[in-house]
Symmetry: C2
Subunit: 339 residues, 2 copies
Amino acid sequence: MCWINDDGPMNEIILSSRVRLARNINKIPFPSIVKLEEAENVIKQIKEAYENENKNFDFFDMKSTTAVQKQVLLENHLISPDLMKKGEGSGALISNDKCVSIMINEEDHIRIQTIYGGLQIRRAWEEASKIDDLLEKNVQYAFDENWGYLTSCPTNVGTGMRASVMVHLPGLNISGNINKILQTVVQLGLTIRGLYGEGTDIVGNMFQISNQITLGRSEEEIVENLTAVTNQIIEKEKEARSLLISNSKVQIEDKIWRSWGLMKNARMMQSYECLKLISDIRLGVDLEVLPKIPLEILNEIMIETQSANIQIKYDHELNANDRDIIRAEIIRNKLRNME
Amino acid sequence: MCWINDDGPMNEIILSSRVRLARNINKIPFPSIVKLEEAENVIKQIKEAYENENKNFDFFDMKSTTAVQKQVLLENHLISPDLMKKGEGSGALISNDKCVSIMINEEDHIRIQTIYGGLQIRRAWEEASKIDDLLEKNVQYAFDENWGYLTSCPTNVGTGMRASVMVHLPGLNISGNINKILQTVVQLGLTIRGLYGEGTDIVGNMFQISNQITLGRSEEEIVENLTAVTNQIIEKEKEARSLLISNSKVQIEDKIWRSWGLMKNARMMQSYECLKLISDIRLGVDLEVLPKIPLEILNEIMIETQSANIQIKYDHELNANDRDIIRAEIIRNKLRNME
């Protein structure tokens, strides 16, 4: 997966950067009211347009994709919860390197998403724009001179763009300053969500920060603004981490090593605990309390230990207990030769 | 220390067996009201009597022994909390192998204590009796034909004997049957205490079980009775442990491995947590979940990580925080090459 392997800048604090562009095709009703025939026509147009330029992708038809497969795509940040609920007439084109996914007939006809490791908002935007340009050569977008890109939900009208970063802020959380920082972020017009977007819990000190406003700002401004705020958050988090080490070195070392001990030894582990421990271990690697465990390994654990990812590997129904056992096993195997 | 090194029978469940005999010298007032001069005369008599027969012991005068040294003796189960509080006119003869201690002018003039690893109540009794006989050749005990040995506190009159075992019952605790068992033990006339005797907390699933009654029963009967009850407790604990493995194998493995992970990795540890984790690890060794860690190592950790034991090694005042750090360090060093 693209963002997992990529050794992106600032990845000790920023897990990934994403851009999503919402687009619709002119004169075709929005997906919520479109007829199946027309919806399939949309799919056809997008597939053809993209196929002409790029062969390295797979198409997932939401009708034939199983519930578990959909869940895996969601867990891997490649489709949205909304698309997962769809069936016939919806689908997703996903690049082989998993950096790009084009969701078709989710809330809008087209949602282009790009994701890269670390702080690479601009890169994500540039890559999304390339696909945007490519599609635009082949389909006619619903676009208004005054409003910009027209979208199914008014909150996306304008650029139709949402840029986001996944930040990991254990330092600010432990030092008790996280709420102050997040409040400021919200005041600056940004939105904070959990690991899996809207309505998901915040676990493992990981926060998704994205622009709220799509209208009245250029894409360039959105990218600039989010990058600037993210850089400030990075500064604050770095400060908090170095204060932790100077003020409560042993306490923080103890916390980190205990989490390491649990990760290496547990025989059952729930997903929530796993994310909490990974948070401590990421912090430990950055603070050089732990040996230099590749962040790639930790990202892999985050992805591969999720329910559907586990389920699909074992190819049969597993209960929560079974999954907890397998999760602990995956973690131990991944970390076996570390230390 | 004798009970630590001794690979006693049933030591997967029984940590140690102890016998204590309370004796007083005829025509000298009990320690609570004795004059200093007479108290010192008692010390002199006992020292001489014992010295004639056995050279391998040290005498600790409660006047010149520092508070920390006294605390170490207490933590090592060699003196009682009561003796620790005493000063001039009190002391303890302690054998070099730490199996025997003779407290002088604690509650009674003489308290002979023997301690051995595992289930060895009879051996502890025999060894205590030898010392008893030896002293009796030299001093005249306060003894009444009807009452038996006379003691300062009426609860010790008769044999003056208290026999006890330190049992480790994690299986019965985890399975929820511990209270039922302990109630039965009490109904059988035995007393249950924590790791350091009367009034101390029960931690790490370790219980001290001893005879309540000293009067109207022979020493032989006390030993027999305690041994019989202990054997029944051992049976019940074994049953509980094997049920744990057959009914909740992964859960118990998870619990044990997590404790192992914490022991090997923590950078700070309180005494209470240490005992809790040791309990899990002892269970893990017995259930063959963990590799064969010598119980001697675990016993050493139990002793050496206690406050005064730590303090005396570092030869200066340490606060609780420092001790927690050193405790974790001792544990990691002891377990470094295990696994």
